[in-house]
């Protein structure tokens, strides 16, 4: 008996060892090499010994050479013109740069272009490029390179999701080696901001090589160079020693992909990463209370709202106002978002160009009931609220809370949720095919300018299926104001137009105005020199270092 057992144990151990050795050898084999699906640039960067380091001797020295950053999603593409996602854009923005950029207050500043001129008709933008800037593959940044990028952007055979966002670009023209003109089909007031936000400049060699195919070799002018991208695992960047600006202090950045938010928190707490994006609000207290970490909660460009379709009882603005009064936004922000939100004072975030604060719909059940009664629904009514799950911070819980709040004024809400593709398919249907009455949605343009939110959400031309104006809002005055504002070059006049539009929209209440979502980033305290832009969408590690 004993012998038999020991023999079977031996057999078992052998089997296990074989399996384990197989597994581990596979692992070490692949782990060791890393599956580089994208290769580093083949052309060796031109290293000029004579490059003078413009840095003062007081520049801090980083105590650690490798920075590990946890992000929640894998990159979809490193194509500079194929970007759709804020976080991915944030990663590749370390490789590619834009012609213009923002200062920390959100003002447009020169970047790859040293200065610019706008023609009086608002149709031609002349940009004077910085000289001596080189791409990672050694080619020079000049007017031809910029033109190649603009041409690719407008080429209809190239997959450019944000094409319309940049504005009605007609094309580019080379004036001289360092001067380029970008022409628009019609005036587009937010163009400079759009230029700063969207048009990443890639090496002309790469553009030539890939043409209209997806670029998988990211070569830009940025402070970091692309090293590798292991799908689903990590993206590695290394410092560009020949960077035209101040030299990056950290030698290597590893963007580690950790999809689960709880695990991301654990990775930070365990010290496996130095910085983490988008942590769950539920962990805010815990991370804040931990002396080892710094917590950043900048506000984002994304407003969260419930769009009400103009049908049934919701067609009455008094009803829509009533619903706005019935929801206690600050309680939701405090208890469900743990403070990671700012109550909306307009349909756009406070930091947007064109923001003008309105009188808030503060929580008031009596007022809500009175309005409902006036509209002829003293007993309330039934509606269907469509909401995504896991798309926005605590979206499901917020929908549940709204449902509960509305039940207090007799409005019975049936919640309906779908996976994201079905959700998008549902909200892009024409009004008469929609199977819901209200939808919880977030809207976060890449540019902090009122145009992108107001025009996208309240211009009647943007109603689905053409666009994604979720409330199917239609008001000729608002349409006119928004169109004028889009073309108006004078900033003062533009602000005024947006103020007028905002006022009408706010009183019409096509949304239940909820909040602007905030980000929750956290990192090791020793990580210094982070640059967080005013819209909170982008974090830069260019000047970061470990103390």
């Amino acid at each position: 008996m004993r012998r038999a057992v020991s023999r079977s144990v031996i057999v078992g151990v052998v089997v296990v060892l074989v399996l384990a050795i197989l597994g581990v050898s596979l692992l070490t084999g692949w782990f060791g090499r890393g599956v580089e699906t994208t290769t580093t640039p083949t052309t060796a960067p031109v290293t000029t010994q004579t490059t003078v380091t413009a840095e003062s001797p007081r520049t801090p020295v980083s105590a650690k050479d490798v920075l590990k950053v946890a992000i929640g999603i894998d990159l979809d593409t490193v194509d500079p013109h194929g970007q759709t996602t804020t976080v991915v854009y944030n990663v590749v923005r370390h490789i590619y740069e834009t012609l213009l950029w923002y200062d920390e207050k959100g003002n447009v500043i020169p970047w790859l272009a040293e200065r610019w001129e706008v023609s009086p008709d608002g149709l031609t933008y002349t940009l004077y490029l910085r000289k001596g800037v080189r791409f990672h593959d050694g080619s020079e940044l000049d007017a031809y390179a910029v033109k190649a990028n603009v041409d690719r952007w407008v080429d209809p055979t190239v997959r450019v999701p944000a094409r319309a966002q940049l504005g009605p670009v007609k094309g580019a023209e080379v004036v001289d080696k360092y001067t380029v003109k970008i022409m628009l089909k019609e005036p587009f007031a937010p163009f400079l901001r759009a230029l700063a936000s969207y048009l990443l400049i890639a090496s002309p060699k790469v553009i030539e090589k890939y043409g209209n195919k997806t670029i998988t070799e990211p070569v830009g002018t940025g402070p970091y160079k692309f090293v590798s991208w292991e799908k689903g695992k990590k993206v590695v960047l290394e410092a560009n020693e020949d960077y035209w600006g101040s030299k990056p202090l950290i030698k290597r950045i590893e963007w580690v992909i950790i999809p689960d938010a709880s695990t991301r928190t654990a990775a930070l707490l365990a010290g496996d990463v130095d910085f983490a994006y988008n942590l769950p609000p539920t962990e805010l207290d815990r991370v804040k209370g931990d002396a080892r970490f710094q917590v950043l909660t900048p506000v984002s460009n994304r407003v969260i709202f419930i769009a009400m379709l103009p049908k049934g009882p919701l067609a009455d603005p008094r009803v829509r106002q009533a619903l706005n009064y019935a929801v206690d936004k600050s309680a939701i922000i405090q208890n469900i978002l743990f403070g990671l939100g700012v109550e909306l004072k307009a349909p756009i975030p406070d930091h947007f160009f064109g923001f003008y604060p309105m009188k808030p719909y503060s929580y008031d059940l009596d007022k809500a009931r009175k309005l409902l009664a006036e509209a002829g629904y003293p007993q309330g009514f039934k509606v269907v609220l469509l909401h995504p799950t896991g798309r926005y911070l605590q979206d499901k819980q917020v929908a549940e809370a709204v449902q509960a709040y509305l039940s207090r004024i007799g409005v019975q809400v049936e919640l309906k949720t779908m996976d994201w593709p079905s959700f998008v398919a549902e909200i892009t249907k024409p009004l008469d095919q929609k199977t819901y009455d209200m939808v919880l949605l977030g809207w976060g343009p890449g540019v902090a300018d009122a145009h992108f939110t107001l025009h996208g959400q309240f211009h009647s031309g943007q109603a689905p299926p053409k666009g994604l104006a979720a409330a199917h809002y239609s008001n000729p005055t608002v349409d006119r104001l928004l169109e004028e504002a889009m073309r108006e070059v004078d900033e003062g006049k533009r602000r005024e137009l947006y103020r007028q539009a905002t006022e009408i929209i706010w009183n019409d209440a096509p949304w239940i105005f909820l909040y602007t979502q905030a980000w929750f980033y956290a990192g090791a305290k020793s990580l210094k020199g982070l640059m967080v832009y005013v819209d909170g969408e982008q974090i830069f590690f260019h000047k970061a270092y470990f103390s």
């Binding site: 207290d285 799950t389 499901k396 809370a401 449902q403 509960a404 919640l415 779908m418």
Partner: protein, 295 residues
Amino acid sequence: MTLLHKVREARRRRIREQWEVFKSNKLAYIGLYILVIMAVISVIGPYIAPRDPYEFDLSKARLPPSLEHPLGADELGRDILSRILVGARYTFGLSVLSVIAGASIGTLLGLISGYRGGLWDTVIQRVNDILLAFPTILLAIALVAFLGQGVHSLVIAIAVSSMPVYVRLVRASVLQVVTEDYVVAAKMLGLSEWSIMVKHILPNVMAPVLVQLSYHMGLAILIASALGFLGLGVPPPSPEWGAMIGSGRVYLFRSPHIVVFPGLVISITIIAFNMVGDGLRESLDPKVRALVRRL
């Protein structure tokens, strides 16, 4: 005493013996008790719940267990005890319904496949292979996309994904049984195919089906909660247990009671299903029963 009587008597005696064996297995007996309690709760849950399971109060969000809320309050300040009591019908009903649906269709197909043979068998087996190869997650996503998110989609997804096992199980048993004397005799008597299948074959292949059924019901609860993890579960605010731990998951470290209590009842229910399954396997196994009878 007619032959029919004798057969009935024998069947009754067999059932009595099976019950004796089952009862002698303490764990199985306890498991059965737990399941009966769960079944009762799923019927009367809403009437014994101390509070409205949907009544929310953000000021009470995440309150730890207290006299007022014996199991604490959830992320929206709802009473967890009440939610568990009311949620029983969703979770319990979901697992029982889906598995019984899958098992009965699977059993039927398995019967036809094994008894008819030929083209029927070939077609059913190939389709079955395809279904077996299908990832449950794909099925769930497709159903949720087509039918909308809800208990019905989950039930169908779990039913369809559990069905192929029964087809195989029953077919294999039928193949063993069709050559037995009583089936041959029934054929000679000129009984219709259906009555042979239902009266003579079915009772003799039910044992493995029943055992599998009880294990599957436990598994169904886990599948439901796994789909909840992917956002495909029962939509809010329904207090289905899997959905409760799914949405409370992010509070695991912050306010563990939100996850721990629903998790606990889930585990207990699954364990009970498994214990009953073990007991059934023992009592329905003719070998074990023969041993008991011989003594």
